[in-house]
Amino acid sequence: MAEALLFVVMGLGALASAVTVVIARNPIYSAMGLLGTLLSVAVLYVVQLAHLVAAVQVIVYAGAVLTLFLFVIMLIGVDKDDKREENLPYQRWIVGGLALVIVGFAAGITIFGDFDWVPAATAIDPAATNGTVEAVAEPMFTDWVLAFEATALLLTVAAAGAIALAHYRRRAS
């Protein structure tokens, strides 16, 4: 019951924050909306016993990524509000139409289509997915070790890429 309550509250929170991201005119508010979503979702992780992931979400996302976003927003200028008018013809109509189609489709398969998110599901055993550090670390460093190593590559790329993009700045200025 508590879980249901949390789900509803946090779920609505996540949605509301997400909508904020989309509709806020000032990027700062969007960032705050994103923060709200991230935190709400982190709570939902905890509810689903993904403790470590939730922690990482808060630290990495809310802590690092969002800070980065804020930095850039500051750089660009906080005081600039975006205009609300759409200057691409039909864009809103197309997107609205697509949204309607997607929602209609989702509603359709949910109501009429016997839709099952997890058709292979078995009885849930909370112990199996109790996301403690140990439980997550073991597969990560055995079965997934190569993927873990690949993240190193990813970060190298990100670093080298950022440098490459910024490098020019030095020369040009």
């Binding site: 055995t142 993927a147 080298a160 490459a164």
Partner: protein, 485 residues
């Protein structure tokens, strides 16, 4: 103690590439040498990576012969060392090597930033190399992202031009969007099957009857979209013309080719090795994408005035042709086409770069006028490559088209073959437009110099185009052996 399952040979090429990239960056920081030194390091890592790929090929061949194919599933099933992976990897390495050579003049001109460019190229290749070998879809996603992020940056490398920025941000935003769609698809596939591994999904589908497979199908659809974006199949192609035009001319050939190779190997692996049992569901859709790509690509290429845009749209059409091979259901034709086309693509952009100049000023059709006189070598090579892409007989392009058409016809998609042959007629028209400009229009412009590295790339590209057009057997039999597990 639990130990990870490690197979060094399987990832040695990627490791070498990463080491090469790191080496380039470090050497640059420490010694600030000439770009040629960095190039040598890169070349070394590519050559060694290729050498180990060859070793892998024989290893994999032995395993297939001995029936111990289980050995080829390595790193707990994260990656595979099957023929498809090794073939794709080798193709990537070849394209990387030639791509770097073709881009060398440009890279050289970057000065100190050349190290980053080379490193990014090597890293991108290692990422895509992981992608072609990946069995685990998350692993595939990682490889895809490593490669893609590197490409986003490369697209924006040429900071002297505002267009390069535009290309980079478009590529980045749309690419991230597509990646998100891809990984959401992976998540849904996971939800539907409980598996991240392609082979696992195959076993799952073979072993269970799923009563409401909608989630699997949606997941599959999203995965296909994500990969379709990478290979610039219509309607996910919109980025390609803008990026090809805006990105540095020298590098575009490489960027386009590796993305296509990796994307198509992944598509082939997922569709043909993973969800083959669902082919009744996906075949018509892939066929539709193929047809749309061919038509959109050819028709739009016809009306372009910029050679790079034209090549981009032709790339869309080629994506359609290769997808026709996927519909055909065997890897042979797809792989042959991929190799042939990527080499031609690298060569073609080498020409475009040589004509545009190092700083990619212009690649309008106008600037190709009279190339037949200004540089007979460039014009001649370009002509062969264009005719090869168009699929004129005696070039490898024809064999490639013929292969995928035959496969598609064999699997009953006759309408697709007919659309394909008609699209290839339209394609002739726009390739010929370039040839017309080169030979049949006159120009007062000065003669052009071709950098030695580009010259070699072109010799190889033209040579293989003709060689495999006449004696396709060597490559075809390799492609036929490059089967997924």
């Amino acid at each position: 103690m639990i130990t990870p399952e490690i197979s060094w040979l399987a990832i040695l090429p990627e490791v070498l590439l990463a080491v090469g990239a790191a080496g380039v960056l470090l050497v640059e920081v420490q010694w600030k040498p000439e770009a040629n030194v960095l190039g040598t390091i890169a070349a070394g890592s590519i050559v060694f990576a290729a050498a180990f790929s060859v070793l892998q090929w024989f290893q994999a061949g032995d395993s297939v012969e001995l029936g111990t194919t289980g050995d080829l599933v390595v790193f707990s099933g994260l990656v595979l060392m099957d023929g498809l992976a090794i073939f794709g990897r080798f193709a990537l390495l070849a394209v990387t090597g030639f791509g770097l050579m073709a881009a060398w003049k440009y890279i050289d001109s970057l000065g100190r930033r050349s190290a980053e460019a080379i490193a990014l190229v090597l890293l991108a290749t290692s990422g895509f190399s992981i992608m072609v070998a990946a069995n685990n879809l998350v692993m595939m996603f990682l490889g895809l992202e490593v490669g893609s992020i590197a490409l986003y940056v490369l697209a924006g490398m040429s900071r002297e031009r505002a267009r390069s920025d535009e290309a980079a941000i478009k590529y980045f935003l749309l690419g991230s969007f597509a990646s998100a769609i891809f990984i959401y698809g992976v998540a849904l596939l996971y939800a539907g099957t409980g598996e991240f591994e392609i082979l696992g999904i195959r076993d799952f589908l073979a072993g269970f009857v799923v009563f409401s497979p909608a989630v699997i199908l949606i997941g599959l659809g999203l995965v296909v979209v994500g990969l379709g974006f990478k290979v610039s199949a219509a309607p996910f192609h919109s980025w390609a013309p803008d990026v090809y035009q805006g990105a540095p001319a020298g590098l575009v050939g490489y960027m386009a080719a590796v993305a296509k190779i990796a994307g198509f190997v992944a598509i082939t692996r997922i569709l043909l090795a993973g969800v083959e049992t669902l082919d009744a569901d996906w075949l018509p859709i892939v066929a539709a994408i193929a047809a749309l790509s061919m038509l959109v690509g050819s028709t739009l290429a016809l009306v372009q005035d910029d050679v790079r845009r034209m090549l981009a749209y032709s790339g869309v059409a080629h994506a359609g042709f290769i997808l026709t091979g996927v519909v055909g259901g065997t890897t042979e034709g797809v792989l042959f086409y991929l190799v042939v086309y990527s080499l031609q693509l690298v060569g073609a952009f080498a020409v475009a770069a040589a004509v545009s100049g190092a700083e990619n000023a212009e690649s309008s059709l106008e600037s190709f006028r009279g190339l037949g006189r200004r540089s007979p070598f460039l014009a001649g090579s370009f002509t062969v490559l264009l005719l090869g892409m168009a699929g004129l007989p005696v070039t490898s392009g024809f064999i490639a088209k013929f292969g995928v058409f035959t496969q598609a016809w064999n699997s009953g998609f006759r309408w697709l073959v007919i659309v394909a042959v008609l699209a290839s007629v339209i394609a002739f028209a726009f390739y010929l437009r370039i040839i017309v400009a080169m030979y049949m229009d006159e120009s007062e412009a000065a003669d052009l110099d071709v950098p030695a590295t580009s010259r070699w790339v072109l010799i190889v590209a033209v040579g293989t185009t003709i060689l495999w057009g006449i004696l396709p057997g060597s490559l075809l039999s390799l492609a036929a052996d490059a089967l997924p597990l």
